[in-house]
């Protein structure tokens, strides 16, 4: 049903047609952590969807009609409605589609999840900077220290709540919103940043048991292959691991 294994579309490609009724389309890239959030929600809620992967180093001209700056992820439905910013897209899916609700129903608990998201805001930037530094052979001890501090804040939350997941005893939206960066700790070479945060390590282990997370887990060697090509500025990086 999903087209996660589709080759990217780049400059010169023909624009895709309208989204068929009954489907929602996600503009994505297989290794992007922000798009990963949206893919997790689509999977968790069992939403029928198609994926168009975009070559982020060689964006199709038509893609700027979907997002003014050509960013991903973007959702497009059969009414030609476009939704972007990963968190907005995830909330839209939770609101618009029936079945399992990923955000809690209680207004205070919903607010708590949104406050937790704010606590997380430095993590994406720090993990990316660590990756770039290590790939470029630069020192990143300060960055790792800063990242460990952020992880300590998250550890404190889990400790205070005494629950496995950030939203309680069951996995919920906030866990999926955090997950993509934790899945990447290993391939980014910064897995040791959770050495001093046992509750966070337990959370990671619990997340890896979640069927949705498992279904979308990216093979480590493929990810490393992508990273190698990406840092060599190879425009074929985004299609690494796909069979011809």
């Amino acid at each position: 049903m999903t087209d996660d294994a589709a080759r990217t579309l780049g400059r010169g490609s023909a624009p895709p047609g309208p989204v068929p009724e009954g489907l929602i389309r996600l503009y994505s890239m297989r290794f992007c952590p922000y798009a990963h959030r949206t893919r997790l929600v689509l999977q968790a809620k069992g939403i029928r969807h198609e994926v168009i992967n975009i070559n982020l180093r060689n964006k199709p001209e038509w893609y700027f009609t979907k997002h003014p700056f050509g960013k991903i992820p973007v959702l497009e439905n059969s009414k030609c409605q476009l939704i972007y910013e990963s968190v907005i897209a995830c909330e839209y899916l939770d609101d618009a589609y029936p079945g399992r609700k990923l955000y809690p129903c209680d207004s205070y608990e919903r607010a708590r999840q949104k406050m937790l998201l704010d606590l997380f805001y430095k993590v994406p930037h720090l993990t990316k900077e660590c990756l770039i530094a290590s790939r470029c052979g630069r020192e990143c001890a300060d960055l790792k220290l800063a990242l460990r501090q952020e992880f300590c804040n998250l550890e404190e939350i889990l400790g205070y709540q005494n629950t496995v997941f950030f939203g309680g005893d069951c996995i919920s939206m906030i866990d999926y919103l955090f997950w993509p960066w934790f899945e990447r700790l290993d391939v980014y070479g910064i897995a040791d940043c959770v050495n001093h945060t046992p509750a966070l390590r337990l959370w990671i282990a619990a997340m890896k048991q979640d069927p949705t997370v498992c279904a979308l887990l990216i093979d480590k060697n493929i990810f490393l292959g992508f990273l190698n090509l990406y840092f060599q500025n190879n425009p074929d990086a985004f299609d690494y691991g796909l069979s011809c």
Binding site: N77, K79, Q81, I83, Y84, E85, I88, A89, E91, Y92, D95, A96, S107, Y108, R110, A111, R112, K114, M115, D118
Partner: protein
């Protein structure tokens, strides 16, 4: 704090929904130690209810109030319309720090670069109104997104800087329509008090937050 635009968002929603509330103003230049137990970041606004539940971050407080209290819904029910309001909110996000920088520098340094940036941001908002062909950012009636962005435009009115929306006619019309809203007009900032506060605040004066009382 009486002059904080972020807290103003929450006050507007409380007023618009007719929610009974009490206000404790915090001296942001000299914060009480106990306040950090309410919000570890030490920022306003913070909501606290009788169950001891604490909610902070202005946009989160506003959404919480809309969900938790009955009456007029400020956020639309339709998931796409709700998402649109959040996308406009993101579009607006550069305005608060820009406007603050602009006010800090006024009369002191050349701020033509900042002026240009502000024009650029206002043009983005103008485009939304032009494309939607409605008076307000959420449609033909005033809704959450209008209240969320209003406090910074209120500053423009209070400081007589309306000329900054001269090149964005729909935005100008929106401001005029907002001034007619009962919640907006009943909470309208006193221009003299605001200017007095701003002068003291920019000098880091501890008394700034109580100016005019």
């Amino acid at each position: 704090m009486r002059f904080c635009p972020f807290a103003k968002r929450t006050l507007l929603v409380l007023k618009a929904k007719g929610i009974g509330h009490e206000v404790i103003n915090i001296n942001l230049k000299n914060k009480p130690e106990w306040f950090f137990k309410k919000n570890p970041f030490g920022l306003v606004p913070v909501l606290e209810n009788s169950q001891g539940q604490v909610i902070y971050e202005s946009a989160i407080t506003c959404e919480y109030l809309d969900e938790a209290y009955p009456g007029k819904k400020l956020l639309p029910d339709d998931p796409y319309e709700k998402a649109c309001q959040k996308m406009v909110f993101e579009l607006f996000s550069k305005v608060p720090p820009l406007l603050l920088s602009f006010l800090r520098r006024q009369n002191k340094e050349d701020c033509s670069g900042l002026k240009e940036e502000l024009h650029k941001e206002f043009s983005k908002l103008e485009e939304v109104l032009t494309n939607k062909k409605t008076t307000f950012f959420g449609g033909s009636s005033l809704s959450m997104i209008d209240y969320l962005i209003w406090p910074w435009f209120e500053w423009l009115v209070a400081l007589e800087l309306n000329e900054y929306v001269n090149h964005t006619p729909n935005l100008k019309l929106w401001m005029e329509a907002m001034m007619k809203d009962p919640a907006v007009s009943s909470l309208f900032i006193d221009p003299k008090a605001f200017r007095g506060f701003l002068d003291l605040y920019l000098q880091n004066n501890l008394e700034a937050c109580d100016y005019g009382l």
